[in-house]
């Protein structure tokens, strides 16, 4: 199910999602309309524009929250032309998994976007790589990130985007055991507490990077 006030984009998105094997069950112009559609027929996942009528501010997040209250099983993928750290943190804090936050540009890489959308539908978390890169590159005083090796930094960035250990291993062409060792080392070096739940792990890393 899709919600975006730009018709061309919405229609195009519906078409390519259909091409890659999704069934688009509804399209809405704004949050209220989407909420009505979700109520009538809850989908696996919704794609929501962050900045929509009436206020063109962060209506997408409010809509997402309303959907989560009424239909907790529905995955929420938020798209925006800007990705902001505070929105990402809010999405990680207020929602316990099943959320994604991507730059709108990402939809042009259909395969990757389709994969991300499926993750969100399955209750996993997706955070835009641009935002994570920006936070990792952020200058800090006495930067604890300097104690990480190059590989550890790469693993951290992927973790922050919501990838599981297995996904990180696949992405970096490493053995799952090796990734586990890296993750343990990163959490020790940064003084973070390991979380079993992947979503909690993303939140901890994002909070650390933003602090």
């Amino acid at each position: 199910m899709l919600a975006d006030d730009a018709v061309l984009f919405r229609e195009g998105l519906a078409r390519i999602l259909t091409d890659v094997g999704f069934t688009v069950t509804g399209q809405a112009r704004d949050g209220a309309e989407l909420l009505g559609l979700v109520r009538a027929d809850p989908p696996d996942v919704t794609v929501i524009d962050l900045r929509m009528p009436p206020g063109f501010s962060a209506e997408g997040i409010d809509t997402a929250a309303a959907i989560r209250r009424e239909a907790p099983e529905v995955g929420l993928m938020l798209l925006s032309q800007y990705v902001e750290a505070h929105h990402a943190l809010r999405l990680m804090t207020d929602f316990d998994g099943g959320v994604g936050y991507l730059l709108k540009d990402r939809v042009s890489d259909l395969a990757a976007f389709g994969a991300d959308l499926r993750k969100v539908a399955h209750g996993q978390t997706v955070v835009d790589a641009d935002l994570v890169a920006r936070l990792v590159a952020r200058r800090r005083e006495r930067d604890p990130l300097t104690t990480l090796t190059g590989r550890e930094r790469a693993v951290l960035a992927l973790m922050a985007q919501g990838l599981s250990n297995a996904a990180v291993a696949a992405d970096l062409h490493l053995a799952a055991k090796t990734v586990e060792a890296y993750v343990t080392s990163i959490f020790t070096k940064l003084g973070l507490v390991q979380h079993e739940r992947e979503h909690r792990r993303v939140l901890a890393v994002l909070k650390f990077l933003r602090a």
């Binding site: 061309l8 984009f9 501010s57 800007y82 750290a85 540009d105 939809v107 259909l110 933003r210």
Partner: protein, 639 residues
């Protein structure tokens, strides 16, 4: 000291009533008490110490005289009484010093020190003669005689009878001259302090004269001695300092009118009564009528005279306007304060407030005296003519209401026609200034709105279209891949990537125009974004619990942005500290770095643009740049 004075005075009073010595006791009690009270409130105040000294000296003299005046001579009365006699000239020198040093405890200028030295020398000689020979005893009438007798009394008495009046006259002339010099030079609060004291002295003298004239007794005048001490103490502590002018003014008018009525009535009834005998009742009626008719015109004259005596000459309209022009060329930000200061000078106000905004929603923007907190955000001044309320002058420019000036004066003071005219002229000038200020604000607001609109247009237009096209290209890539046209797929993907790069550049441009995050999520989020992107580590301290007017948020954002850019570009700093805090005074924005400090407000520089922008919000940009780093700081008033 206080206890000793009380013991001496109480003991003295216990020895019986002696009206001729009463003034010493009253002065002892009142000056010691006032001096100690003032010293308690202002430790080490020199005038307070002088008062205590005056009180203590009088206590000693009072007790000595009381002892010596006792009808049945007491043991040792000669010696103790002697202490009530001879110190008098020296005590008078002390009193003179206290008067000359009022109110701060310092002489008007160092040039007066030799004069005081001469007075002290004269006092010393007089006291010495009075101590050695009983030249003062006849005047005081002590029961107990002098404790010893030296030869040469006739010569000493002859000298003293000439030297004493001459010396005392000298004392009085010097005091008066000194006080006159001080009054002529005094301005502002010091002038009001002096007026309190002189007012008390005048009342005391008037009672003395009336007492001598009516009851042929100095007693009523003597009883007013404590009034002087209390008035002087109040003046030093500045207690109700500003109420003195109307008090004097009213006293002068009432006193003068009482005299006019009495004299007028007496002249008519008595004078005309001689000519027209036997028509007493008729004459009384006529007299009453004449006095009643003459009363109002005479009162107005007297009031004007009293105004001139009390308030002196106020700044003339021309002076006020030329001073305002001087303020207008002063650096921006102080302009509105300058208007208030000029108005205060011109009409002798206690408080002047400049308000701007529509008539039903005025906001205070400047106040005199400087440092006074501005009245509540939307607190329109009282309607003109409200009794006891401030005078209000509307500020109008080109027929448009711009705001108002309110002038608060001491209670009971009314504004003369001339003063109202000056206020009106200044309000007209203020109208021009407010209009210019409003124009600058409108320009900045219009610029901001244009940038916001551009950002929104880019977001909803070009950016949206480019993203959609990239998405369609993605679909083409997929189609080419599935249909086996690998080369087409590869080239199409290359185009897609380039398109995304172009989109990213456009996004950055749009953000530079006006960050959407600022409009949507406020200052904390937007400054957080700046810190994330800064090339230098940023220590953030943010406390902005609510949304602020768009122009305030945008200006604060640009201050932080410019500060971070400068720090990264020029200073060689290791870290930057950014503080954005909202408190009672307004929004504090501060950017400090620990670099070498090279920031200056140059014409055409980013900092100058910021300073101009801040000026439209009545805020000032301070730039401190030195070897320890650079600090940009401003406080934007936002109610």
């Amino acid at each position: 000291m206080g206890a000793a004075a009380i013991v001496l005075v109480a003991g003295g009073f216990a020895l019986g009533p002696h009206p001729g010595n009463l003034h010493n006791g009253l002065i002892a009690v009142s000056f010691t008490a006032v001096g100690l009270y003032v010293a308690g409130r202002r430790p080490g105040h020199r005038e307070a110490l002088l008062f205590v000294a005056v009180g203590a000296a009088h206590a000693v003299m009072f007790a000595g005289r009381q002892y010596g005046l006792h009808a049945g001579p007491l043991p040792g009365a000669s010696w103790i009484g002697w202490f009530g006699i001879w110190p008098l000239p020296l005590v008078l020198v002390l009193v003179g010093a206290a008067v000359m040093c009022f109110p701060a405890g310092r002489l008007p200028s160092p040039g007066w020190r030799p004069v005081v030295a001469v007075l002290a020398a004269v006092g010393f000689v007089l006291s010495a003669v009075s101590a050695l020979w009983p030249v003062e005893y006849a005047r005081v009438g002590l029961v107990a005689g002098p404790p010893f007798r030296l030869a040469g009394f006739p010569a000493a008495d002859a000298f003293y009878s000439v030297a004493r009046p001459a010396g005392y006259l000298l004392f009085q002339l010097v005091w008066v001259a000194c006080v006159v010099v001080r009054v002529r030079r005094a301005r502002g609060d010091e002038a009001r302090q002096l007026r309190w004291f002189l007012y008390a002295a005048t009342v005391s003298a008037a009672v003395m004269v009336a007492g001598l004239a009516v009851w042929r007794s100095p007693l009523p005048g003597t009883l007013t001695a404590p009034l002087l001490a209390v008035a002087a103490g109040a003046a030093i502590l500045r207690h109700r300092l500003y109420d003195i002018d109307p008090v004097i003014n009213k006293s002068l008018v009432v006193g003068a009118m009482a005299a006019v009525v009495t004299v007028g009535y007496a002249v008519i009834v008595v004078g005309a009564g001689r000519l027209v005998d036997g028509h007493g009742t008729l004459l009384s009626l006529v007299a009453t009528g004449v006095v009643a008719v003459a009363f109002q015109p005479v009162r107005e004259r007297v009031q004007r005279l009293a105004d001139r005596l009390v308030y002196g000459r106020r700044t003339t309209p021309y002076e006020a306007l030329s001073r305002l022009s001087a303020h207008l060329t002063a650096p921006a930000g102080g302009l509105l304060d300058g208007i208030c200061a000029t108005v205060a000078d011109a009409v002798g106000a206690r408080e002047v407030v400049l308000w701007t905004g529509p008539a039903d929603d005025l906001r205070a923007v400047a106040i005199w005296p400087p440092g006074t907190p501005l009245p509540g955000e939307h607190n329109p001044p009282d309607e003109p003519g409200t009794p006891g309320g401030p005078a209000v002058a509307p500020v109008v420019h080109d027929g448009r209401f711009q705001g108002a000036l309110t002038v608060t004066r001491a209670p009971g003071e009314t504004m003369s026609v001339a003063e109202q005219r000056v206020l009106g002229d200044l309000a007209a000038q203020a109208g021009l200034v407010l209009e210019l200020r409003a124009t600058a604000q409108r320009l900045v607001a219009a610029g901001d709105a244009a940038r916001r609109r551009l950002e929104r247009d880019l977001h909803d237009g070009a950016q949206q279209r480019l993203v959609t096209v990239a998405m369609e290209l993605g679909a083409v890539v997929r189609l080419a891949t599935t249909s086996g046209a690998a080369e087409v797929a590869e080239r199409a993907d290359g185009v897609r990537r380039q398109l995304l790069e172009a989109t990213a550049e456009l996004r950055e441009m749009a953000r530079g125009l006006h960050p959407a995050v600022l409009t949507q999520d406020g200052l904390e989020a937007a400054v957080g974004f700046l810190a994330d992107r800064s090339a230098l580590p940023v220590r953030l301290s943010l406390a902005v619990p609510r949304r602020l007017p768009a122009e305030v948020e945008a200006t604060a954002y640009f201050v932080v942005s410019e500060g971070l850019t400068n720090a990264a570009r020029h200073s060689g700093a290791a870290t930057v500290t950014v503080e954005v805090t909202l408190d009672g005074a307004g929004l504090l924005v501060e950017v400090c770095d620990d670099g070498e400090g090279a920031a200056v407000v140059r014409a055409g520089s980013g900092l100058e643009g910021l300073a101009d922008r801040l000026a439209t919000l009545d805020a000032r940009l301070t730039v401190e740049s030195g070897p320890a780093g650079t600090r940009l700081r401003t406080v934007i008033p936002c109610g």
